[in-house]
């Protein structure tokens, strides 16, 4: 079984979650726990970097749907970056690009946050 893993770091004062491996109905709860922890600690400017994520199923997308309102209601956002084509295709099929900021590079997400918090 391929592992799923999440690393947490801070860049320019924003919370970054790096995802690794495969995100499916089995591993989605780990992402959910990581997001919940950030929100409980009132951390609301969150970047999720998909560079090392090889695969995503709808259970993974469901996690972003469940928590985006909580984050936006405390003045933050979840911005998604560095997806490979296969992963982006799933977000695109379900219409995420109109409701979420999805960037090719993490730096673009940082810039957007910096502009929004000016």
């Amino acid at each position: 079984m391929k592992n799923f893993k999440i690393d947490h770091r801070i860049t320019n004062g924003f919370e970054v979650l790096d995802l690794y491996g495969e995100l499916d109905a089995h591993t989605a709860s780990q992402l959910e726990d990581a997001l919940k922890e950030l929100i409980n600690n009132k951390k609301s400017t969150i970047i999720v970097n998909f560079r090392e994520l090889d695969y995503i199923a709808s259970a993974g997308l469901g996690v972003f749907m469940a928590y985006i309102e909580d984050v936006r209601s405390i003045g933050g956002d979840i911005k998604l970056t560095n997806m490979n084509d296969k992963v982006y295709n799933v977000f695109d099929l379900l219409g995420f690009p109109t409701l979420y900021d999805i960037f090719r590079d993490e730096e673009e997400a940082v810039e957007k946050f910096l502009n929004e918090t000016k």
Binding site: A25, H26, A57, S58, E69, V90, L94
Partner: protein, 140 residues
């Protein structure tokens, strides 16, 4: 025409087996000459269908089993999933209204939409004691 080739796998209804299922699907689809995009489509469709069975048909009862059959011929790949649980509605495949779902903090309802989008043909039969989901991916 060459004779069709069939592969079968049985798993217990637990989400921890999903990665094995994806590996089973991709290994055989690649061997039979499907493109990487086609392999990715079938992998995701089968994952979503198995997830639905585990969740809705069996309510996460890992003692229950579901079977996966892959059949390859010159034109297509046929995927058949069989379970003995509670049937679910694969006819409801409207694109989920993300905006509404987000506002209501509702998730789900995306699997069937994806399956219908990723596969060329999808049929579902609830037989006397079995539910059978048949999906086709054409080579061209």
């Amino acid at each position: 025409m060459n004779k069709a080739v069939t592969y079968r796998k049985k798993i217990n209804a637990s989400t921890q087996n999903l990665s094995d299922v994806r590996e089973f699907v991709s290994r055989h689809a690649e061997k039979h000459g499907f493109t990487s995009r086609q392999v990715a489509d079938v992998q995701l469709a089968v994952d979503e269908a198995c997830t639905n069975i585990i969740k809705h048909a069996y309510n996460y009862d890992a003692s229950k089993e579901l079977s996966i059959e892959l059949e390859f011929d010159d034109e297509k790949m046929n995927v058949t999933l069989t379970d003995q649980g509670i049937g679910f509605d694969v006819e409801r495949y409207k694109k989920p209204d993300l905006k509404k779902q987000i506002a209501r903090k509702k998730r789900g309802g995306m699997g069937v939409y994806l399956i219908r989008n990723l596969m060329d043909e999808v049929n579902y039969y609830a037989e006397s004691r079995e539910n059978v989901l048949r999906m086709i991916k054409n080579r061209n």
